[in-house]
Amino acid sequence: MEIVALQVLNSLFYAAVLFLIAAGLSLIFGVMGIVNMAHGSFYALGAYITAWAVAAAAPAIPAAALFVLLFVGALAVAAIGLALEPTLIRPFYRRPEEYQLLVTFGLLLVLEDLMRLVWGGTPRTASTLVDSLGLIQIGGLPYPVYNLVMIGVGVAAALALWAFVYRTKFGVLLRATAQDRRMAAALGINVERIYVLAFGLGCFMAGLGGAIVVPTQAAVLGMGVEVLVIAFVVVVIGGLGSLEGALVGALVVSALRTVTIQFWEEIELAALYLIAAIVLLIRPTGLFGRKG
């Protein structure tokens, strides 16, 4: 029974990370109509930058202060996103989707190899953060407090994002632009500014996902593409462009993953895609999707 409780917590932790990534992917698609193939690489960047920063700062500052570095990692990724959108992505909004997919695929190739160039092939960890919070006994079994805290961060991020999109003036502008770009521009909304900020926000969330994960498991090459493929399943199940969908999709996928890993590890990804394929056959736009 205790094992079940721990597995539920593991599943929630993983869902928090998946939600951050998938919500960013969905947000960028919902607002700008492009699918960012390099989104997983932003997650990997967040993980690498955080691990690198923690390793550099760990001897100098107290463990509690190291937690700030999680946000530093995420902000660094957001800054990269803010620089890339106007220079690389902007010329592609008016061109067919094939080209949008191709240019972000090119970006993915570049980012994956840049990470290899900068950080090399050895895995990078930041386990100091997990150690600093210690363990808690759950039904007699030890569980890292860090994971519990990060589930809380995931919930907070989801609430903050919801409030941001549905309760602020910027959120209104964002949704207006997503619905009709030309009408929004005609009403005097600075669409280009909305786009660049939405892209930056999406990248921030992916980076935060990576930053949260890296203390529990090492940053390795290829982690970006691996998560991209799973994030696709999340948005396909939930509906591309929908934040509620990203939340539900993340919960479904992480629960399914926990169960399959427990019982039949070989078919983990296959089971995920089977579910995604079934959802697509029954409801082509996903559980919460709009007609794209």
Binding site: G106, R116, Y273
Partner: protein
């Protein structure tokens, strides 16, 4: 086909036939790789160029062909290339037929995501069911064990066998090009282009869109599977890498590099890419970085690719 095009094709064929006579064994082998990849690109472009569907999962069919050959060799001891081709074509066609049913209900982004996703599933299966597939060690397909043309040609002398295999691949390549030319210029091919250009209008004309897309998907996957079949003895080994997403990325790259609005574009792209890859890997460890930069530059500034741009320049100078 105009007379000029026929003449040009004949010249290229003569030049290709002379390669083993004039070039070294190594160069012959390199071009054999290029021609197998060109078959994959040809198949891929039936979807992207003619049907308007961008697949990020063609590694699945390439790998299906390669693994079918390797498994046949391992478990049945067959050495005949013709039987390998038969078995491999059946395997990749069956896979494409199955995946196609799911994928062609969607277009654009969802199509791209689904094809990528399904190929990744295959990759994890090849990776995790190691007692069948050899896992990361892969399965060996020794080049020297192969027999061609019903056992008439076998590998007694390495150099001669490389040449023989080159001509074998060249023959298959020519058949593929001719077949694909017929397909895209047939009423079937024209219908695909109509669907690509205006789906709604094609639907109003009574075209069964899904069926046509599914057939295009099936043909495309089967051609790509054939490329995997011919490629695997040359490589001597198949590993899960051929099913992994960068392999699909490469196939996409062939078409964009050469120009996917052209019949010959992907062929030229694949052959050039093969040389680029071999010499770039020798020159730098970070060739994927260079590849990404080239892709971004191509898509941003030269969307017509090498062949398309060359045609435009030629038309301007005339």
């Amino acid at each position: 086909m105009s007379r000029r095009q026929l003449g040009a094709a004949a010249l290229v064929l003569i030049a290709l036939a002379l390669v083993p006579v004039l070039a070294s064994t190594y160069q012959t082998q390199l071009l054999t790789y290029g021609l197998t990849l060109a078959i994959a690109a040809l198949g891929f472009n039936l979807l992207l160029g003619y049907t308007g569907l961008l697949s990020f999962g063609h590694s699945a069919y390439f790998g299906a062909g390669a693994y079918a050959v390797a498994l046949m060799m391992r478990y049945s001891g067959i050495t005949s290339m013709e039987l390998f081709i038969l078995g491999g074509l059946l395997a990749s066609a069956a896979l494409a037929a199955l995946f196609g049913v799911v994928c062609v209900r969607h277009t654009r982004i969802f199509f791209a995501i689904l094809t990528l996703a399904l190929s990744q599933v295959l990759w994890t299966l090849a990776y995790k069911f190691f007692w069948i597939t050899g896992g990361t060690d892969g399965l060996r397909v020794p080049f020297a064990k192969l027999t061609l043309v019903g056992g008439l040609v076998s590998a007694d002398q390495f150099d001669k066998f490389v040449d023989a295999y080159y001509y074998y691949v060249l023959a298959v390549f020519c058949i593929c090009v001719a077949l694909m030319w017929l397909i895209v210029h047939s009423p079937f091919g024209k219908t695909l282009q109509a669907i690509r250009d205006n789906e709604t209008r094609a639907r109003f004309l009574g075209v069964r869109i899904w069926r046509y897309r599914w057939l295009a998907f099936l043909l495309s996957g089967t051609f790509t599977g054939l490329a995997g079949i011919l490629w695997v003895p040359l490589n001597g080994l198949t590993t899960p890498d051929v099913l992994y997403w960068p392999q699909s990325g490469k196939i996409v790259f062939f078409a964009v590099l050469g120009g996917f609005r052209n019949f010959t574009g992907p062929i030229v792209g694949a052959v050039i890419f093969n040389y680029l890859e071999v010499y770039a890997i020798a020159a730098t460890e970070y060739w994927q970085l260079a590849l990404g930069v080239v892709l971004i530059v191509l898509v941003t500034f030269l969307p017509a690719g090498i062949v398309g741009t060359a045609q435009r320049l030629a038309a301007r100078s005339r």
